[in-house]
């Protein structure tokens, strides 16, 4: 279960690319009691899947199947703003976060005691639950009593704005920054593990050939990390699309419902306005983006698994 070892298979086509054993302990076709056992072992998961995944999904599809719902949804100004917010939130949030994680994972490769110590502190946002973290940020960004404006005033003499109360773009920016704050450490750790699995000999060979600094990154590190980076970005896009906590606790969709994303708007429509069908429709309207991503990701993950 060593990180480097685990990742190597995915990152590098090395000696571990050998053909996977496709063998049964119970050879031939399963007979009688063995088949019964195999099915019996699967029953708990099958029941769980049918009762709590398949049924809700089918129910959701049924709730949101009327085309009229989507006409109603699209005609709402809140929904139009929400779509723009979602695109900005996912597009900017994911890319900044992943690029930052890529750069910082390089920084954390440095062998210094203080870099190692810093890594322990740096993962704290990821280690703590989302709710306390985002509630703290929400209060910190309060225009009147928040810590951020107190610091700006106390140290720089700047009268900071009401980050969440005044402008849509400031609030959306704050939400994106909070999301990055919370989730960049996680992806940094993963990319760090990916970097550590690159054999040191490759770097030594590159150095002999005269590649250092940026060129070493472009010609050695990045090609080897590209697959991992792509998978992480796809996964992170899907997770960010479904991220409810950042928006809900940092801006709460405010000011004046201008910073909702699809995940929070769906919940609002369903439980605050009492229109579950409209909420499901809002969430389902993300499917045209979700489905290609999921297909791409599943294919990526499956081919990665075959390489093992």
């Amino acid at each position: 279960m060593d990180d480097a070892q685990v990742l190597r298979a995915g990152v590098l086509p090395g000696p571990s690319t050998s053909v996977r054993l496709r063998r049964r302990a119970w050879r031939g076709s399963l007979q009688g009691s063995e088949f019964t056992w195999a099915v019996a072992f699967l029953i708990p998961y099958a029941a769980l899947f049918l009762a709590f995944v398949a049924y809700p999904v089918a129910y959701g599809l049924w709730l949101g199947h009327k085309p009229a719902l989507y006409a109603e949804l699209v005609s709402e100004p809140i929904y139009q703003r929400t779509v723009v917010n979602t695109v900005l939130y996912v597009g900017i949030g994911v890319n900044l976060k992943m690029f930052g994680a890529l750069l910082l994972s390089g920084f954390f490769m440095r062998r210094r005691w203080w870099v190692r110590g810093l890594l322990l502190v740096y993962v704290l946002p990821w280690a703590m639950p989302a709710l306390p973290a985002f509630v703290s940020i929400h209060w910190m960004l309060n225009g009147q009593w928040g810590l951020l404006n107190n610091i700006l005033w106390g140290i720089f003499g700047i009268d900071g704005p009401g980050w969440l109360e005044t402008s849509r773009w400031l609030a959306l920016g704050s939400v994106i920054a909070s999301h990055i704050w919370k989730w960049m450490p996680f992806w940094t750790v993963i990319l760090l593990a990916g970097r550590m699995s690159i054999p040191q000999e490759l770097y030594e060979a590159a150095e002999v050939d005269g590649a250092t600094g940026l060129r070493r990154f472009l010609h050695v590190t990045f090609p080897l990390l590209a697959n991992l980076y792509l998978i992480c970005t796809l996964l992170s896009t899907i997770f960010t699309l479904g991220d409810f906590n950042s928006v809900y606790f940092v801006s709460g969709g405010g000011p004046a419902l201008s910073t909702h994303v699809l995940a929070t708007l769906g919940i609002r429509d369903a439980f605050e306005i009492g229109r579950p069908d409209l909420g499901v429709a809002a969430v389902m309207s993300a499917l045209p983006l979700m489905v290609p991503l999921v297909i791409l990701l599943m294919r990526k993950l499956r081919t990665t698994e075959v390489q093992l």
């Binding site: 810093l118 993962v123 989302a130 990665t304």
Partner: protein, 296 residues
Amino acid sequence: MIAPSIDGSLVRRRPNYRLRRSLTEAAALALGVVVLIWTLVPIYNIVMVALEPHGDVFTNDIWPANPSFESFWIVVTEGYWYLENFWHQFGNSLYVGVATVILTLVIGSLASFSIGRIRIRHGWLVSNAALLTYVIPASFLAIPFYRIMHIYGLSNNLWSVIAAEVTFATPYAIFIFQQYGVSIPIELDEAARIDGASPIQVYFRIYLPLMAPALVAVGTYALLLAWNEYLYQFLLLSSKRSMTVPVALAQFLNSDEAPWNYMMATAIVYALPPVAIYYAFRRRMTAGLVMGGVKG
């Protein structure tokens, strides 16, 4: 200075190299300071507000003028009406967490034993169903899930939350178990089989003991998932006695009086167990997340 000529270049190269090194070091140090501040400011904020006595919250201090542990004492003794069920709610969270861990491990390990070791036909269908569940965001499923819990008669019941957490933790468990299971030689199963062991004996005597590291990683993951999750607990639990800590914590936000210091103290007490578990199991967690989160 990469391709130096023979004459004297070594002499020139040395100090340049040293200068560049110390410049890089200085830049790294500066970046480190920026990362440190960026990471710690929101955490400093939560601690600072929690240490402020009631009434000092609405000031423009950057550090508390009269720090006190009063808020923590109020939380621990349930001395405020929002907190009157705090320990009960803490127990609820723990109950949900432990039940989620047990069910996730049992269901996940049985399924992956059937798929990966007995190699039931069409087992890949189950793997794919699990993979699909893993990549569907939980928040997208919340609305129909809520309605269905009403149909099952589980509304405002801790078991509805446990069902939700197990649903989202099990797919991950199945991947980890399958990935990790590959490293256990199938010959062991064959040998046991020749000695006359039934599948259930192989599962208990061989599979589970050898899977111990994966069980620990997944168990930790499931515990943290159940403890940290908010949306489903908020939607499915409504009464004060059935609430878990995160739901109760978010209740503070509805208050006009806004006892922010009590809220932050509660938040710290709530965040301490997962942070401690995280640091205790850090290595295993990372390995597990790398496997499940990236390799599937």
